[in-house]
Symmetry: C2
Subunit: 321 residues, 2 copies
């Protein structure tokens, strides 16, 4: 059942012993939103905690600072930024996938698996929704809460740069800044600082970037060999996925990452009307119009060929030269 924010707020007011789940391979939005919601519910006198099917990356650990993480038998399970219970990860999906009472999500592709889903497909981040929800719940946006939500707002918008950024996004970012979010350090951490290993990996990746289809598609492939050469690893690749799309004239940017087991994870980023989700859906994946992903098997060249085939099909629908 789809519900609105007021209904989600009413439901949470009546709930307790609330377990909040982030998606696996957690990012700033799922963790920032979940921790902010948990802290707000604790502020309302409820028992609440956040769990994630994967370990919390080091640079996100500060989101949990000052958050009690009680152990309890959950009465109510809430998923935040989780479009499909599969994204909870195998174990969490098996344990909780069938009993999500409330899902708060901004993916239009949400498969509506929860008993109640509050979904805003136009929202740039789940954090924007949680910000409004916290206000509906009458919960103060402390500097720490503002920082948690600012992480979500910025990491899901490339720091307010992607096309999903709306006037509301700018307004909420400003309100979070005014509420005391540590905007400068958050932005430095997630957008303006490169480890030496990341800088080395970025150079290798850019060196291998190739253009296709009259320079309307840029593709780069990050291999296990590149991790070895740069001293970097998979945890540093998220920020690379925007690079191919940045080249002037490129409509589709593709980043392929070779996983340790030999599979390839593709991240597709598009401009304008080109539908990244459509490209990835035909390869068994999904996502948003401007940003989507899928996993490919076979050799590197097979993965590239499969992707280029679908990119070309989608580019053929493009009306802008």
């Amino acid at each position: 059942m789809r519900i609105d924010m007021q209904a989600a707020a009413a439901f949470l007011r009546g709930a307790d012993r609330i377990l909040i789940l982030s998606h696996a391979h957690p990012d700033g939005d799922t963790l920032g939103s979940a921790t902010a919601l948990a802290a707000a519910l604790q502020g309302m006198g409820k028992t609440a905690a956040v769990q994630c099917g994967d370990p919390i990356p080091k640079n996100f650990e500060f989101l949990f600072d000052g958050l009690a993480q009680p152990v309890f038998t959950p009465e109510t399970v809430v998923a935040v930024d989780v479009a499909d219970p599969k994204l909870l990860g195998k174990a969490f999906n098996a344990e909780y996938g069938g009993r999500i009472a409330l899902c708060i999500d901004h993916h239009a592709s949400n498969i509506l698996y929860a008993a109640q889903t509050w979904i805003e497909g136009e929202s740039a981040s789940a954090a924007e929704m949680v910000y409004l929800l916290l206000q509906a719940l009458g919960q103060e946006i402390t500097p720490q809460q503002a920082s948690r939500l600012f992480v979500g707002v910025t990491t899901d918008t490339g720091c307010l740069r992607f096309s999903n950024t709306t006037v509301r996004t700018f307004r909420i970012a400003a309100e979070l800044a005014a509420a005391g979010a540590d905007t400068y350090h958050i932005i430095q951490t997630f957008f303006e600082t490169k480890t030496k290993t990341f800088a080395a990996l970025e150079r290798l990746a850019l060196d291998g970037m190739r253009l296709y289809f009259h320079d309307r598609c840029a593709l780069m492939c990050i291999t296990q060999e590149m991790y070895r050469e740069s001293g970097s690893d998979e945890s540093e690749t998220d920020r690379l996925t925007n690079l191919p799309r940045q080249i002037e004239g490129v409509r589709v940017g593709v980043t392929l990452r070779e996983l340790a087991d030999g599979e390839f994870k593709a991240s597709v980023r598009t401009h304008g009307e080109i539908n990244a989700a459509a490209i990835c859906k035909r390869l068994g994946g999904g996502g948003h119009t401007g940003a989507a992903g899928c996993t490919l098997h076979g050799t590197k060249q097979q993965a590239i060929n499969a992707l280029l085939r679908e990119v070309q099909a989608e580019l053929d629908t493009d009306t802008i030269d």
Copy 2:
């Protein structure tokens, strides 16, 4: 004489035949602020125009769309974002440097050369000041005006990322977005799009970047040879100056650009307490605490040595390891 915003507004209300000057080597802030101010004054029924001692770079031409540029004998000369009349360029300094009636500036280093100076050293951009001034003048922020000011607000803050960005900056950015600024295209143009030649130049520059002083200083040098190899030119180098500072642990990032005449232009970007203006001042330049510049003579190695000497002196004052 230093004046406040209300006095600047009162002065402009009483003025006419107003020539607004941008600094030479114009950037988004000086041009966005000047064009927005000129359009507002025209909206008040006044004769006003913008001039710059150097040609307007192609990507800034749209700021002049819809702006009448009448030719007249100026009664009142206003400088925007110009800390020193030398920065007007030689010819403009000779013609107007001694007769600036009003200077609107956000450089704390402004030498107070104008008859009246409204200066806000804490403002991240002149555009923030002009935004508030236009409101004081009762002038509507149309979508086009909002776009002009958004260019200034974003280009002087690295798209809200630099340490000069304040809560006011975020708030004004949000208000400009709400007023209809074409935020997405402006951000794409100035921050998210790389020409192929720029991408090639960036790779060459990064390949040559070196670390000094226990990795607390990163320096890269962009040579005329690199322009030839990449097909790029000086006009594309501004965006490179932030790269050295991005490496984790680096406190001072230096970009040296070899000019056609063999001189070297240095851009110094710092973190925290390290004073970029102090480094550059000792080499005959100036600027802000976090971003400053100077021009160096001699060979490339002499330029590097001179800079490193001053960087080291400044790093010695740094208390953070």
